[in-house]
Symmetry: C3
Subunit: 678 residues, 3 copies
């Protein structure tokens, strides 16, 4: 088999974000020189610089950008250009005020803080696509330019502008066709909300979340399509000139209400802006939510990704400054990103800004411009990456376990919060953390994706459900997979309307249980009695389960304590076709979950490491060059340990990073990293 040459963007490299327009041109050369010495292979520029590229309507000035890009090009540093539409210049918002979003309360989102652009604005689209086209045309042939980032950190604004209202009305019309159908599907009869004319269909004026949930969910979907269309205009403008350049977008801060999968559709790959929390108070959770963010990003396109902004120093701008990353922190988290599928890692930012509102979002170099500890750490990390890149390029994660994520569930459960403690994404964190603590590689993918190749699929809270999804999951289990379902599954149809069926609705057959009644626990706790005699705690919710009466169901846990439903089934395993389904009627505590998942992993032959010490994480990247096990200590204490279960033999021989030799036991200082060939 002939090996496919890897694409430019599949190289494993390090980069930095740089804003030449923020600095006197006299220091650019020295900056580029020092970047080269520090191992910078990629630089991102351009994002936010609209007022420099087009100082007045129709007057373009790319000279400064030419000079900056040339400077990098001459040093063999590749350049990614960010399109500047996140920050419309003042002349644009002044002359075409429809560019500004109208906020839910009715006020205008004024310039001042960035992101002041209504995705529905036709002026924004016209001028935005024009400046992007100009950029694409100009840099299509530049040898240093390799790709593009669209806009910056897309999110939802709930704009109520007249154009947003008109577009929403069209969207609704296209979806439902008639007012009769619209009124029926949304159930607008409640509270006399029936529309008698199309003109009455508007965005949620006033912004209250306590409105018709069907309407609110569709307004979110409309916005997802809107952002995707807005981006598509830019992508078309770029591809017209640069068919061979890549196009990506830098997602950020999960969970986003914005549907990552919808916006990711037309991208070549996804990027993420990664700022793990540096506070000691977050040390127990931050490495795990970070791991999830990386896996989520990898799942957007189900392939490797970039970090477009990686923590380089204490952030601080929208909030007081964070703690400064301690020695090793920057390197360890960059390795964590690579371990979970990042190919290129671009650090934000080269030097802390001297001007503007983000002055204290620290870069690798402080304002003083005296290179210090953090740049040295970056440079040393760059050298490691350069050394190992030949091994790592072309490798990727090969997980047998997937967690299904759905922005429709996220949004629907945000619109109607089930109980005080119930949070869709926080619960996904729980499941993902349990897997991570067992050293099990896991994909996090859109719930609509095919499931071929997985042995275990966790599908928490499929609150909205349709036949397609229920059928796919049932087939997955029937065909031999292990499916894990939870409370609040099958509650609604896709229009956010409750189904008149016993829960879990369309998945009741597959789950082998029906919910007789439920108790929204909120901040209360219920006891779980299990076969091993150990009592655990359940929280958030309690489904009282009636297992189907046949030999294929097994009650794994019953409610206990003083609950009025003590003795009833809480967690049930159901043998279904060639596979099995677990239904969790309550949200069990971490220990139970980890023990359950370990049992499943052992039974289903899923690679795992037993219980890892706190903060220690494993990942494997594999490909034609071999398979590589990353072992990271993202905690604040030194850990000495052996890997258990299927990884028991992995830590042998020479570590690829340090060159040290191991015979099964490994000791990692805080923020220590090692890589093994497995």
């Amino acid at each position: 088999m002939q090996q496919q040459p890897i694409k430019k963007y599949e190289q494993v490299r390090m980069g930095v974000d740089y804003y030449p327009e923020h600095w006197d041109e006299s220091i650019w050369e020295a900056d580029a020189e020092l970047m080269q010495q520090s191992g910078v292979a990629v630089v991102r520029v351009g994002e936010f610089a609209w007022s420099r590229m087009e100082p007045r309507e129709g007057e373009f000035d790319f000279g400064w950008l030419d000079r900056a890009i040339d400077l990098f090009g001459r040093r063999g540093i590749d350049v990614v250009i960010g399109t500047p539409t996140h920050t419309p210049p003042r002349w644009l918002t002044d002359k075409y005020p429809d560019v500004l979003p109208i906020l839910p309360g009715g006020g205008v989102f004024q310039p001042g803080v960035r992101g002041h652009r209504c995705f529905n604005s036709r002026s924004l689209r016209r001028f935005g696509e024009r400046i992007v086209g100009k950029l694409a045309q100009r840099y299509a042939q530049h040898p240093a330019v390799i790709g593009w980032q669209t806009d910056n950190e897309f999110g939802m604004l709930d704009s109520q502008s007249p154009q947003a209202a008109e577009d929403f009305r069209d969207w609704v019309y296209r979806k439902y066709g008639t007012l009769d159908r619209l009124n029926r599907e949304w159930g607008t009869v409640v509270w006399s909300g029936e529309y008698s004319q199309w003109s009455e269909v508007t965005p949620p004026l006033g912004g209250s979340p306590y409105q018709n949930p069907s309407f609110l969910l569709d307004f979110a979907r409309f916005q997802w399509d809107t952002v995707a269309e807005f981006q598509a205009g830019q992508i078309a403008a770029i591809r017209a000139y640069c068919p061979d350049h890549f196009i990506t977008h830098n997602f950020h801060s999960y969970p986003q209400r914005l549907d990552l999968y919808r916006v990711g559709e037309e991208l070549d790959f996804a990027s993420f802006d990664y700022y793990p929390n540096t506070s000691p108070a977050k040390a127990a959770t931050s490495p795990y939510s970070g791991a999830l963010s990386l896996d989520v990003t990898r799942g957007i396109k189900r392939k490797n990704f970039w970090i477009m902004e990686q923590l380089s120093g204490s952030p601080g701008a929208w909030m007081p400054m964070w703690r400064m990353p301690q020695p090793g922190y920057i390197r360890a988290y960059a390795w964590q990103a690579i371990a979970r599928g990042a190919d290129t890692v671009v650090h934000f930012r080269w030097r802390s800004a001297a001007i503007g509102a983000e002055q204290f979002w620290h870069g690798l170099i402080d304002h003083s411009n005296v290179p210090g500890r953090r740049l040295a750490e970056f440079a040393s990390m760059s050298a490691e990456v350069r050394r190992l890149a030949p091994l790592l390029e072309g490798t990727s994660t090969d997980a047998k376990v997937a967690i299904l994520m759905s922005h429709e569930q996220l949004e629907a459960l945000r619109i109607q919060k089930q109980t005080d403690n119930f949070d869709y994404y926080e619960n996904i964190k729980t499941y993902h953390r349990a897997l991570t603590k067992l050293g099990i590689d896991c994909d996090v993918i859109d719930w609509r994706q095919p499931l071929e190749g997985y042995r275990l699929v966790l599908a928490p809270h499929l609150y909205l459900l349709d036949d397609a999804a229920a059928g796919k999951l049932s087939r997955f289990a029937a065909d031999g997979g292990t499916l894990l379902l939870t409370a609040r599954t099958g509650v609604k149809n896709m229009n956010n309307v409750c189904v008149m069926q016993p829960l879990p609705g369309l998945l009741a057959d597959c789950a082998g249980v029906t919910v007789r009644e439920y108790d929204p626990l909120g901040s209360d706790i219920v006891r779980l009695d299990t076969a091993d005699g150990e009592p655990y705690a359940g929280s958030q919710w309690a489904d009282i389960l009636d297992p189907v009466e046949n030999r294929q169901t097994e009650v794994l846990a019953r409610y206990g304590g003083s609950a009025f439903f003590a003795g009833e089934a809480a967690i049930v395993r159901h043998e279904f076709g060639h596979g099995e389904t677990y239904y969790l009627g309550t949200h069990p505590e971490d220990d139970y979950l980890r023990s359950l998942l370990l049992d499943i992993a052992q039974a289903r032959g899923i690679v795992h490491a037993g219980n890892l010490p706190p903060g220690v994480q494993l990942s494997v990247r594999s490909g034609e060059s071999g398979a590589y096990l990353f072992v990271l200590n993202l905690g604040r204490e030194t850990r000495r340990f052996r890997l258990g279960d299927t990884y028991a033999e992995a830590v042998q021989g020479e570590g690829l990073l340090g060159g040290e030799r191991y015979d099964g036991e490994i000791e990692l200082a805080p923020y220590g990293v090692e890589i093994f060939r497995v």
Copy 2:
């Protein structure tokens, strides 16, 4: 003496709220059938269904409602129609936007969440009275229809609409006549707030509570009159066609800033929407605040009342879902309502909504439409009620104790919160709870009501006072009654202006004390030294009292500890004419209050039971059929007890509910109920 036949609405029955328009007509018949089997005698319909009754301006469609009502009528189920004005349809707000309230900040109260109707809007009144008139005309002769509910859960909106401003100006003009008098009575000279033209009189723009308190109080009174007038228009429209039907309104969530007594004036009886809190964390207080709500509702018209919406399952819509009521809860709280004067109890709602924003405000039946535990409990309760109704109909509470409540005090004390911990309604709860824990039946009535028949009247915080009220209370005490007054009495005249007299102002003679000075304790505590040597705690406020120097005053408690006023009188009893007055200069802790009230009850021959176990409540309904003692355990623990004092002999013989025999001792499981003939 000939016994008056009881009115239809005085029957003791059970019902449900039902929204036929929310469901496919194909299931109505089955619903009605199951209702009949479950003991449903009354159904409320219509509320919120304006867009179905009048889909477009002037086009009326009552066919669906005819069919629904007929369905119930055929099964002998009575129907109450709610007028739909709480939810103006979109065609109305679209064409006549003056229907929408203008919020204090200046924004429009947009449709989406219900209640979007400015009571001052002339369009709302015109179209509202028209649809109500149409309904009344249509159903006047329908044998199943017995009465009406106006709108839904009235409250104050502080609308600043132009019409509200104009109406307020007229109201002020009618009250004060000249600007000179207005400026003088409100004291507008402070901060140069004097009006020089009538046009300057507006609602409180900006909505800050820190404005002229005289002005703010009158703006509240204006709104009370406004809501009453708005309702009067509907009542006239109904009475024109249905002179024999009853008209009620479903009050909710006390305290309301809205004056219940003012709005209740034209009603045949009051109704209440009763949702006792299901959280275990509220188990110690919820049964008592519920008892107060019921007594408040009975006090609105000083007669028996309805529950128009009674808890049937976990609520959840404006907030995350509550805990599901545990077995017995639904029944026990329905009995509590009847025990305190409810005749008909209508449960909200038949089945949980599948559509719209209240999907998780659970009904008796879950979305699945599989009848379950809660419906079974309701059905069994219905059977009990049907069995005991012949005894209970025509009976009512006969209390010798009254607490005076005043919405003018409530509003004035909201406008100027006295101290952090000082809350008018919370303090009323304290007094009511102390009586409830002693098994003392108590009325809660408007402070302007006559006091004949009472032995003890508690009049907390009569902050605003006039000669009429002071005279009435003084006469009550002088004629042999026991009057209890508290700190913050007599501070102001009815225009919310401070009096230049020693406190308690007009009641100083009657109280036998003057307040030399006071200390607003806020969240601090002061020690109370009493004759029994037991130290108690006082909170919120400390009046330093100078008792009138004669033999008729007795100092019951003095301040102690390190207060600079240690040794001064805190609580004083004053023999006044044939009766007595207690003045409480501080808010004493519960134990002291209960002990004080027990002493009074014993001295004044008031029926009581001594200290009841936590959660246990007593009530007596009496009439020509006899007297019935309700004993309820609304706590989460089983209680075994004997009733003390005047009730010591009550628990003898056969319980009317269970048929069990007792000889003085009673044991009630959590949410257990028993009824005795006394």
Copy 3:
């Protein structure tokens, strides 16, 4: 040497605030009579009474004010008139709505609560200067009138009115001249914020603090100039008629974002409205923050000042009522004010208002108008003051220590909060409290003031710095002074742009250290290891210091514990020229600070008393009549103590207040005061 006769306003006297227009004229005479008996020498009137002075546009009525002032004049009571512009009357705001500020969110600041005046409004200035001129003309020759208070309690409103926008644009134009320079100095290129036309320069619409910090700081400076100009118009109107009257302003509630020094420039002296917190929970801190407020006020003009409103009873209006001041409290805090440089102390207010929104901001007399404990305390205090006035008049504080305060730092650090726990003014409180607890008199002055005469200057957080300030401070140290600098010094230039120099920037030479790196600690703590072996805690921030390598630096504390920078220098002393500089890289706990300052005081011969008991404060006023030591116990416990160090011998002989004799030891009851000749 001929003694200069003191000015009228330098007399040491007592007064009250009185609003004749709030009361029926029939009681004025009795009020004045009782004031005279109680020792009132000064009355403030007029403030807020615009609607009485000018009931309709252009119609003036001063008859009532004539009569009131005559009444005082006849009794030898002097009168201060407050200009009424804080409360524009309704006819003015109605006809000239530009008088009303536009709030940051875009709403109008409606009348209702006071202060509804946009300082940029031309109507306000025109009508305001006219009414002030009329007042000045009328009372210029009145023998009782001695001076004026401008407006009331100036503050910043961030008004976005069209006139404010236009004035701001002019201000920016005058400062920067060209858009190019403006864009460069503010660094607007960040986020494409570059202005391409002057019309794009606006106030911060939307009001978010997360905008360009250079812009936001200049918008604050613009407002400082605006308020000063607004006041200057009134001052000119007064001086035109009353060249010999004094003019002051009553500042309040520090810290104010408003630059006190800028607004104070044209005043004859500063005044303060002093409401020390009466809550027992604040007893440990309130006396110290009060002392700071007084020293800040004295620093505004670097001379003695007035209290224009002094606590007389429980405040309550914007908030629930406070605790009532206990016996001695009113007197002790009035003496504290005099001890720290107040000459005249005017108590707010004579009697609690019966009308309007400030009814519960209690005066010396309660609503009842029965004179009580508080008036008696005031009267007795007045007699003491009258007795000691001949000694105290002409005396003032003579401090050798100064704390530099800067509203530019305050505002810049508000715009970009450094860490959760970092607060500029709270930190100034820490330094001031440490000095107060050592009995060291301290000035608090504008950072631009000359430093001659001081031995120790504390200059915390000089975040913004220029050559003039850095040069002055360096010279102060080089010439023999002791200078104390802290973290976050020299971070920025005066345009709020970060400098590209090692910190502390322009003061690095003088400090003898550079900051290698820093860690924003936020709410975390770092250990400090010192020479005395005692570990202390540092908080908020940690600069990792590189001392200049020569013999002139001494590391006083190093970081310890588990910090990654353990062992690095935290606090350094640097011998610089004839003096020395201390640089504190972290915010040390109080104990360390007090110990450090005591060492410095001992070394530099600064008068001090060692560690004083909690709540005990000392101050010295000295002049030609001698020097007077005030000893106050502002705590809630009796204290018996000897003064240490340089004050060891002070407490000897007869106390001037009580006439008691002492021989070194003193015992003071709570709120006890004594004065000694030293």
